[in-house]
């Protein structure tokens, strides 16, 4: 497939002054039936998650599996080494002397879970991703400082440029901007 040239419409974004306005706006956008939405805020806000219906429990299961893997790996590694590959009889004690394997098993569990927590979060969030079309929205640098943004993707089934823009403008934002990919190929 040939890459499309010129700007490609990603969606519409509205800028708000404070956390309360953006939450109210998000509730209205949700009740208008939009599903492919997102918000940008300088700190985590549970109210936004509720308003937009954001819920993703996958990371917790990933971390559980990572920890479980670390645990099994740690214990079986020690058992294999101490009982099979390099059996060393210390005072006639059992080869798999499990109480003494607990500290290392524990550390491996934590390490496995922690690595999954960090890299799983990155992977699910699609980071690192140094470029994203929202970065070219004027004033977006304040999303990491003190402004709040509400975003509707063009892929949303209800998305219609004019109607959606009108809806966002009625919510009382500072500005509504079009998000476009300015790269030549995308």
């Amino acid at each position: 497939m040939e890459a499309k040239k010129g700007p490609y419409l990603y969606g519409l974004i509205a800028e708000f002054n404070n956390e309360h306005e953006v939450v109210e706006a998000a509730k209205k956008v949700k009740s208008a039936g939009y599903t492919k939405t997102d918000a940008f805020s300088p700190f985590p806000m549970h109210a936004i998650d509720h308003a937009l219906g954001i819920w993703d429990p996958r990371i917790k299961w990933f971390i559980f599996c990572g920890g479980l893997f670390g645990c099994i790996f740690g214990f079986s590694m020690q058992s294999y080494i101490s009982a099979i590959d390099y059996p060393l009889n210390v005072g006639g004690r059992p080869m798999i002397s499990w109480p003494q394997f607990i500290p290392v098993t524990f550390e491996c569990t934590i390490l496995g879970a922690a690595l999954t927590a960090v890299f799983g979060m990155m992977a699910l969030n699609g980071l690192p991703q140094l470029y994203h079309p929202v970065f070219s929205v004027p004033g977006f640098e304040r999303a990491s400082q003190d402004k709040f943004f509400l975003y509707i993707e063009s892929k949303d089934p209800k998305f219609q440029l004019e109607a959606t823009k009108k809806l966002l403008e009625e919510l009382g934002p500072n500005a509504v901007s079009i998000v476009e990919d300015m790269r030549d190929d995308h």
């Binding site: 934590i110 922690a114 969030n125 994203h132």
Partner: protein, 474 residues
């Protein structure tokens, strides 16, 4: 009842003062990183100290590797001395960072938001200094990778029944997890710095470090889940690390080491020393960088309370050690205590009791906890006391063991001192570079704190004038 209300009113200071908004917070903390002018001249003084003493560390290590560990004062019977004392001392200092960032997060102590970044940085740098000692003490640091269980042609494996091998896993996991935890916390702040800088190399570097973070609600959702679980994982981890360090001693049969109270007593001691170090850095820095609005007198009060509590646990440990000597009825155990009280190193034991047992008691008084010179002095005394504690546990227990024929004395050499001073220089250098280039308070968590205080001003904040700064309606 009347006095109680009075006390409440008098000592219920806010945890965030001044006229605050998201913009003000971002600017006050972020601008420190962006402009050299925000740094007082004393910053150069500390950098100079670091630049002077880091080479001392490098040279001490180089000579040690060249000549061998015989240049240190430890030998039979005192085979463990300054190297292990300093290892335990540094790693203990690191523990406050994890306690503040993880345990206080789980307990929903919002006041941690303004000190956690700083304490976590301290953790990482302290663990780096700590790790040097056992790695060099192996004598042949170039084959240190043998301590890891990797498939090899030597036909050998580590002995997993030894606490020293547990230590390897504990310290390396602790360092990795602390670093990840710190970095994850930094990502949104790096994004802020990327957006605040006006182009140039700095923006590119912060941009890469932020990995394209854009504050998306969907990202924050997973981020928070992951961060909270990391805190939950770090909590047992930090308890396990110092417990395992203490097992290096407790599993042996040496009088003075073979005590079951060691794990909790070491963990409390670590937190004790760590909070003292946080205060030692935080007290001058909040003044030099005008951060009194974020690190308030209430924070100092709370940190002093944690110090007092852990200090009491440590003191209980000392009392229990004496009790244990007597109660065991074992002549070697009893002699250990007699030797501590009246042997050649008795002075260090009395100094220890003064530093860790008596001096912190002044913190019972709320007035004293708010007196900054007093708290600062107590923090210095505790830092010295915790070093002495390890001295009393390690060389003093070793120098007179079971047979009088194998008794000896321990004297540190020039290289013991130079290496310790070198690690201090290295630590200082890293801390002040951190202050220069990384936001030293967690900006996004401070915004979060402001947001939560605005929703419910009664929670945690006491009488705050944050209310007045609120822009827009509820």
């Amino acid at each position: 009842m009347a006095t109680e209300t009075k006390y409440e009113e008098k000592y219920n200071e806010p945890i965030l003062t001044g006229n605050q908004s998201h913009e003000v917070i971002t600017d006050r903390i972020g601008s420190i990183v962006l402009s050299q002018e925000k740094h007082p001249n004393i910053w150069w003084g500390f950098i100079a100290f670091g630049v002077m003493f880091t080479p001392v560390l490098v040279f001490s290590i180089a000579y040690l590797v060249y000549k061998g560990i015989g240049i240190w004062g430890n030998n039979q019977p005192v085979a463990w001395a300054c190297d292990i004392i300093n290892f335990v001392w540094w790693i203990g200092i690191g523990h406050a960072g994890t306690l503040i960032s993880a345990i206080l997060l789980l307990f929903r102590q919002q006041w941690r938001n303004s000190i956690n970044r700083f304490a976590e940085a301290m953790t990482i740098f302290a663990v780096m200094c700590a790790g040097l000692y056992p790695l060099l003490h192996t004598g042949r640091p170039w084959v240190d990778y043998w301590i890891f269980p990797y498939p090899n042609i030597l036909g050998m494996w580590p002995q997993f029944r030894s606490p020293l091998v547990w230590d390897v896993f504990a310290i390396s996991t602790y360092f990795t997890v602390s670093l990840l935890f710190w970095y994850i916390g930094l990502i949104p702040d790096f994004a802020t710095m990327r957006d605040k800088t006006k182009g140039g190399v700095a923006q590119k570097i912060y941009g890469v470090l932020a990995m394209g973070w854009r504050g998306s609600a969907r990202h924050w959702h997973r981020y928070e889940a992951s961060y909270l679980i990391l805190a939950g994982l770090s909590t047992p981890l930090v308890l396990s690390v110092h417990s395992i360090v203490s097992l290096d001693f407790a599993v042996s049969i040496l009088p003075g080491w073979n005590v079951t109270v060691f794990p909790p007593y070491f963990v409390a001691g670590a937190v004790f020393a760590g909070f003292a170090m946080v205060l030692l850095f935080m007290i001058p820095i909040r003044k030099w960088y005008h951060l009194e609005d974020y690190v308030t007198i209430r924070h100092i009060d709370w940190m002093s309370k944690v110090m007092l509590t852990t200090g009491l646990i440590v003191f209980y440990g000392y009392i229990l050690e004496m009790f244990y000597c007597w109660y065991s009825g074992n002549i070697y155990e009893i002699y250990l205590c007699i030797n501590r009280l009246s042997g050649p190193y008795a002075l260090s034991y009395y100094a220890l009791i003064f530093c860790n047992g008596i001096a912190p008691q002044i913190l019972w008084s709320p007035k004293m906890r708010r007196n900054i010179p007093v708290v600062f002095t107590v923090a210095i005394i505790i830092s010295i006391g915790m070093w002495l504690e390890r001295f009393v546990i390690i060389p003093v227990s070793l120098h007179r063991d079971f047979l009088p024929s194998s008794w000896g004395m321990y004297y540190p050499t020039f290289w013991d001192y130079s290496m310790f001073l070198g690690t201090m220089g290295f630590f200082t250098l890293l801390m002040f570079l951190f202050i220069r280039f990384v936001p030293m308070l967690n900006i996004f968590e401070m915004r979060d704190l402001l947001y939560k205080l605005n929703i419910d001003p009664s929670k945690g904040a006491g009488h705050t004038n944050v209310e007045s700064s609120k822009k827009g309606g509820n």
